[in-house]
Homo-oligomer: 346 residues x 2
Amino acid sequence: MRYLLILSFFIFCSCSDKTKNLDANDVQSNQENSTSTETMDYALVIHGGAGTILKKNMTDELEENYLMALEYALKTGEEVLKAGGTSIEAVQKTINTMEDSPLFNAGKGAVFNHNGENEMDASIMSGRDLMAGAVGGVSTIRNPIDAAIKVMTDSDHVMLTGAGAELFAREQGLEIVDPQYFFTENRWNSLQRILKKDIGSVEELKNYKYGTVGAVALDKNGNITAGTSTGGMTNKKWNRIGDSPIIGAGTYANNNTCGVSCTGHGEFFIRYAVAHDISALVEYKNMSVQEAGAFVINDKLAKAKGDGGAIILDKYGNVAMPFNSAGMYRGYIKSDGSKEVKIYKN
Amino acid sequence: MRYLLILSFFIFCSCSDKTKNLDANDVQSNQENSTSTETMDYALVIHGGAGTILKKNMTDELEENYLMALEYALKTGEEVLKAGGTSIEAVQKTINTMEDSPLFNAGKGAVFNHNGENEMDASIMSGRDLMAGAVGGVSTIRNPIDAAIKVMTDSDHVMLTGAGAELFAREQGLEIVDPQYFFTENRWNSLQRILKKDIGSVEELKNYKYGTVGAVALDKNGNITAGTSTGGMTNKKWNRIGDSPIIGAGTYANNNTCGVSCTGHGEFFIRYAVAHDISALVEYKNMSVQEAGAFVINDKLAKAKGDGGAIILDKYGNVAMPFNSAGMYRGYIKSDGSKEVKIYKN
């Protein structure tokens, strides 16, 4: 405990130096590990969305289900990495497990838009060559992250949207499902409550509205990949696109800096170019991933009242999971055996 | 001439210091002025697209038409700024003139996609409060930049796409036109030539494929706004979205750093988060707009073979117009009476 306190103080001082307005609380969520410059064999960090996630609103059973789903996602990705698979494949398989679970706002569990439809976004970026792919506003692709990967690997483009993105996915042989596949009673009821303005508080509304899944992996070849997938915002209108499919906002990766996947109130993450800003701070200010994450999420975004968080991973396997909301479903696993799965702040 | 050489040398040395790999050629396009820290009353910089624009391929009449259109755009925006209008209004009115001209790939002159339709993108960002708006893949809004502004000022969102964005624009009372309005014989013939693979060379193809318009303004209140509007890439498929509507890629603005609008091969501008990267270099490396523009456009992007350019303006009225292609339609005007309108490299 004494070492943890000393470490906290060290991180606090080091952050304060560069980012004057952080306080100890801000840094508390960034103690995933101390900064290392020794290369890790592999590492994987995930999130399942940030929001007003409080223990008092959670049943033991639901909490257990979330923890199990996060564990399963980490285990799935780790198997790929341990076997020498690429970070792209690890991110894909990890996100697939969360897209296929009704618990997270992505794929199967995607929220409903104003018209009662599911409109999903996803993106991927490879830090090895800065290649990237994204799809926005798709309704029939079972695993949107797979479509984002195909855009990256099999098209000349970075971002495809709507019916065009679905046609491309079909041409690429991806699994196309009836939109009915994405119906879940829980999400449907959330939309109905919002439409009837039957929501207790702004905080409760936020919890209903946001949610995303994401993963960042470092493979044995030292390559970092970041990916994000989401159903967007409950009750969204006008084919709104959030930060998740925007390279630089919801997702960014560069082997020389870090990989980032974000979750939260997407409009703020676009306006602050959050994922790229974190990478830029590592590149231009020589910040650690903990410092960069704390500055952008807990200082810049918190001041702007932009709720959310991010997961960050560098080439040494250093992990940060900063968030300024009540909770964030999150976890990491590394080749040195260290591992963590968490939901709430502490 | 001697002073110009001395100035060139000074800028070159100063750039080389921070960005080791620049050469004299790279810096040549960034001599719009020396860096000043005295505030300008107002300033406006525009582009009408970058590409393989060579004098040998241009008739005198067409060249004259382009120069006149650029002059008219600058004059229109300057009138707004001189009268004390906001930089948002100046960017809007300036871009409107280019959207209404058949010469530029935006609005009226938008290129055709693979299906023979016009699919336009636009975005705006206000450096005062980091508010932003964008539309992607719209086909019936006469002036897409107006829709981007409405998204910023009259919705909770940053980015709307396709039919949803068009519905929103209609609800906001913007001018909706029959898609036929965007038909121009010249652009139609370009698509037909590409479809028939009747293009002489890769360079000629590049010239056909890209094009954008953009403006960055500084108003008398010291507020910077950046905006971009485009028809995208000729023959694009699958509802492809380029960098123009992506905040952080094609457009970024922050009063404390600079405003940026980009043009070129959009996929590269997304992957390199070009507009935000330029802003980040000003913020974190204390670079001038000339240095930041030269580093990102003439070094990073040029090495990656990402063709294009950017216009950049800071709160002191310092202007940079870097590009790594053969030419870029561009110009600026300032309250001190200085002005420039150019097409080719020298």
